[in-house]
């Protein structure tokens, strides 16, 4: 019998349909991947199952009984358990306390011994029976903490485990361990809903995959009937190749940025790179590889960075953003909400932030000119010109990101644009726009340097790829020699790649 059956689930938020008529069912001992772009409805589905959102329509049936989820505790009592994207352990509490924290089963006065034994059993299932239950959670590594999160669900007799991007912040050995644990649980008859952007894990671990797109169910297939390319196409809703505009092999107009022996204590060691104009250089590396620190350092945002960097042959002083901006080196943060957008300020001001000084007459702001330039920039980055006066915080993530690109376009001369995760948290449509804007910047003579944790994106958009592992460069590839397998090998097993 199916552990879980979902039929016709729908949920809207103020006119936005986050989930539309989604149905799926899950058997005991099945690991199901849920795939989809950001905004496809994965989180809404999970939160509806856990009773955090109340669906507008549709039914949830557990073990053949139709249920109305009243909240997370109710969902837990029915045998559902969620490991959320962010760790939710209390760092100062012991492992044991964390396992039982918030459980409705624990009365004010309780028999600690029984609870201890159940926690111990849960950890044993995960191959961690020898752990000390009384050390604080903060003494464990991130991967171990993730195991405690899973143990927490098992101790509460969860039979359906929902894992939302459980490996996003883990190292490779930690990921391998989590995957092993999940396979063990599957053998014991647990069902798992596994949400991940990492397609490798989907093919390695899961039995079946459900693809969501724009809140709708697109397909559910056995994994062995699926190829990587097919899965991506289902997620994107268009052929793989169309996403990325072709690189126009422009004339060789020289190197914009040359970095030699770039060092950031503990993060980047002796990194050298050359970014030619008119190309997109992608620094590929896992979390902790230092890739995103390289771009930050080149933008002047890392105080302790050292190294010889030159732009158009003239040396660039590291550590001062205003200096870098004057030299045409611009930065686009991975943290759009905190380091990119001015939420309360208008779209116009967001497009022109940082270049007000260039639009003055007698040292006074020339608002007529600002409005004219702003309207032109909005058009070039495909943001509705009628929204120039709206607060930028009201725009979608995709449109906000386009505003950040707009800042780079009309500079006195084409410079260097440094980007971290330029398409993070952005829907498919805006993503295609952004790739097009990036190519437009290339054709204007900009040099683009970006980092991304999305390997598909690396292969799709980059002209040059520099791979990084633990703060060092592993290899450099150009156009035809860019291949996903080699990049993946470099950023995970650099020794073999170097050999």
């Amino acid at each position: 019998m199916d552990i879980l059956t979902v039929e016709g689930l729908s949920k809207s938020f103020g006119g936005v349909r986050a989930l539309r008529d989604v149905s799926l069912s899950l058997r005991a001992g099945e690991i199901r991947a849920i795939c989809g772009e950001n905004g496809a409805g994965k989180s809404t589905l999970v939160k509806s199952l856990m009773g955090i959102f109340t669906p507008d329509a549709g039914s949830i049936t557990i073990d053949g009984v139709r249920q109305t989820m009243r909240g997370p505790q109710h969902a837990q009592a029915l045998g559902l358990g969620l490991v959320a994207q962010e760790l939710s352990l209390a760092p100062r509490l012991s492992v044991l306390d964390n396992i039982w924290l918030g459980s409705s089963e624990v009365p004010v006065f309780h028999r600690r011994r029984a609870l201890r034994q159940r926690a111990r059993n849960a950890l044993e299932t995960l191959g961690a029976g020898d752990w000390d239950l009384d050390i604080p959670a903060s003494a464990l590594s991130i991967g171990q903490q993730q195991l405690v999160e899973i143990a927490r669900l098992l101790a509460r007799n969860a039979r359906l485990l929902i894992l939302d991007e459980p490996t996003a912040t883990l190292t490779d050995t930690e990921i391998a361990r989590i995957l092993d644990v999940l396979k063990t649980l599957k053998a014991r008859g647990h069902a798992v809903l596994y949400i991940s952007h990492r397609l490798g894990e989907v093919f390695d671990l899961c039995d079946t995959v459900t693809v969501l797109r724009n809140g709708e169910h697109v397909a559910t297939r056995p994994v062995h009937d699926m190829t990587r390319e097919r899965l991506i196409e289902l997620m994107l809703g268009r052929p793989f190749g169309e996403m990325y505009p072709a690189s126009a092999a422009g004339p060789d107009i020289g190197d914009a940025l040359v970095a030699d022996k770039l060092n950031v204590a503990g993060m980047v060691r002796d990194l050298s790179l050359v970014a030619p104009r008119g190309t997109i250089l992608c620094i590929a590396g896992q979390i902790g590889s230092g890739a995103n620190v390289v771009t930050r350092a080149l933008a002047g945002l890392v105080p302790g960075a050292t190294g010889r960097v030159s732009v158009d042959g003239k040396p660039l002083r590291l550590g001062s953003v205003p200096h870098c901006v004057e030299r045409g080196v611009l930065f686009l943060s991975e943290d759009r909400a905190a380091e990119g957008i001015f939420h309360q300020r208008s779209v116009l001001e967001n497009l022109l932030a940082g270049s007000f000084g260039a639009h003055t007459r007698f040292r006074m702001l020339d608002w007529l000119r600002l409005k004219r330039v702003g309207a032109r920039l909005a058009q070039r980055v495909a943001v509705d010109q009628r929204r120039l006066a709206a607060a930028a915080g009201k725009l979608s993530g995709g449109n906000q990101q386009k505003l950040l690109f707009g800042r780079a376009i009309e500079r006195p001369q084409p410079g260097v644009l440094l980007m971290n995760e330029p398409t993070r948290g952005i829907d498919v449509g805006a993503r295609a726009d952004i790739y097009r804007i990036m190519r437009e910047l290339c054709s204007l003579g900009y040099a683009l340097i970006m980092t991304t944790s999305d390997l598909e994106e690396v292969v799709g958009i980059a002209d040059i790829v520099v791979t990084m592992y633990r703060g060092r460069t592993v290899a450099r590839y150009e156009r035809q020699s860019i291949a996903m397998a080699r990049i993946l090998a470099d950023i995970t097993h650099p020794v073999q790649a170097a050999a």
């Binding site: 905190a338 040292r363 058009q379 498919v428």
Partner: protein, 333 residues
């Protein structure tokens, strides 16, 4: 926010803009705030107009001078608030200290020297705080509290008896009358307001203050020299606050630290009542002008109703709490 997933792509390679409507839900708190504002204004107007003597000439003149003193401090405060530094507790003390510097300097070197010395003192004292906050990223509230204590401490050394008086020969009579029917103080305040609004709206520096207040890190990332802008905001805040101290000294031919007591609270009340957002990035000096008039009306009404100074503090406190309570649901992310 209805939004198609795949916007049509034109053959020119540019993409048609994605349409987005504003969601009705986000606007709800704002409407609610608007209603509360309207009700408060109507009630205040009704109370003021039914208070005997409110519309008399002495009362109106007293209203305008009250508004001017609070207003100058509030305009300075507005720059600090907009730049994301919440408020300065030291502006009231700065008013008293500036008054004393003016009297001391004017007694020594004449009226013009007094003016220059007072402005220089207020500007530098504040700019120094701004530098600490902008360069060292010190907490603005703590810096202002420290400045408050320092100003009082130093002032104590200069005026052991509390009040210092203008020299016997000094004659500030020309600065006590009216210009075109309005008190000199109010004319000065209007000039201060105009200058501040000019700076905020029409200079890159003014725009940078809004950007820094909206998101400090984003402002750094686009290359705004944040420490310069914040130091500048405090410098101007000092220069805008100084006239309040100078005008008080001229009015009484004397100066004392007591003159400044309470101004920082009335100023922040005026800033908030005007609608400048406490967390920064949004607001205007013209709003503060409106806020200062409202605070002034309340004070005059309280005096005419025969209520004592304690009540004025109580009301100022209630207003600040009330406005914060109203602002919060609309601005929380």
């Amino acid at each position: 926010m209805s939004q198609s997933a795949q916007p049509p792509i034109s053959d020119r390679g540019l993409v048609a803009p994605v349409q987005e409507g504003t969601s009705a839900r986000a606007d709800e708190p704002r409407n609610y705030v608007g209603i509360v504002r309207a009700v408060v204004l109507v009630v205040l107007a009704a109370v003021a107009l039914t208070t005997p003597g409110f519309l008399s000439q002495p009362s109106i003149l007293s209203l305008l001078t009250t508004v001017s003193f609070i207003g100058c401090v509030a305009v300075g405060m507005t720059l600090i608030t907009i730049s994301g530094n919440i408020m300065s507790f030291a502006l009231g003390a700065l008013v008293g200290a500036t008054a004393m510097v003016f009297i001391l300097a004017a007694n020594w070197g004449g009226f013009a020297f007094g003016l220059i010395a007072a402005l220089a003192f207020a500007g530098l004292t504040n700019a120094l705080q701004g530098f600490l906050i902008g360069w060292l990223r010190a907490n603005p509230i703590i810096v202002s509290i420290a400045a408050l204590a320092l100003i009082y401490g130093v002032a104590e050394a200069f005026a052991a008896h509390g009040t210092i008086y203008a020299a016997a020969g000094a004659n500030y009579g020309g600065f006590k009358g009216r210009v075109a029917g309005i008190p000199v103080e109010f004319a000065v305040f209007l000039c201060v307001t105009a200058l501040a609004q000019f700076i905020l709206s029409l200079t890159p520096f003014g725009r940078h203050l809004f950007l820094i207040g909206s998101s400090f890190r984003a402002a750094e990332a686009v290359g705004v020299r944040t420490w310069r802008a914040i130091t500048g905001a405090y410098l101007w805040a000092g220069l805008f606050t100084a006239p309040a101290g100078i005008m008080l000294a001229i009015r009484y031919d004397a100066a004392s630290m007591n003159y400044g007591i309470g101004y920082e609270y009335e100023a922040i009340a005026a800033v908030l009542v005007g609608g400048t957002v406490i967390k920064g990035g949004e607001g205007s000096v013209l709003r503060t002008l409106a806020g200062a008039i409202i605070i002034g009306v309340i004070q005059v009404v309280l005096v005419l109703q025969g209520l004592r100074t304690e009540w004025q503090y109580l009301i100022a406190g209630l207003i600040v709490l009330g406005v914060i309570a109203l602002q919060t649901p609309g601005t929380r992310d």
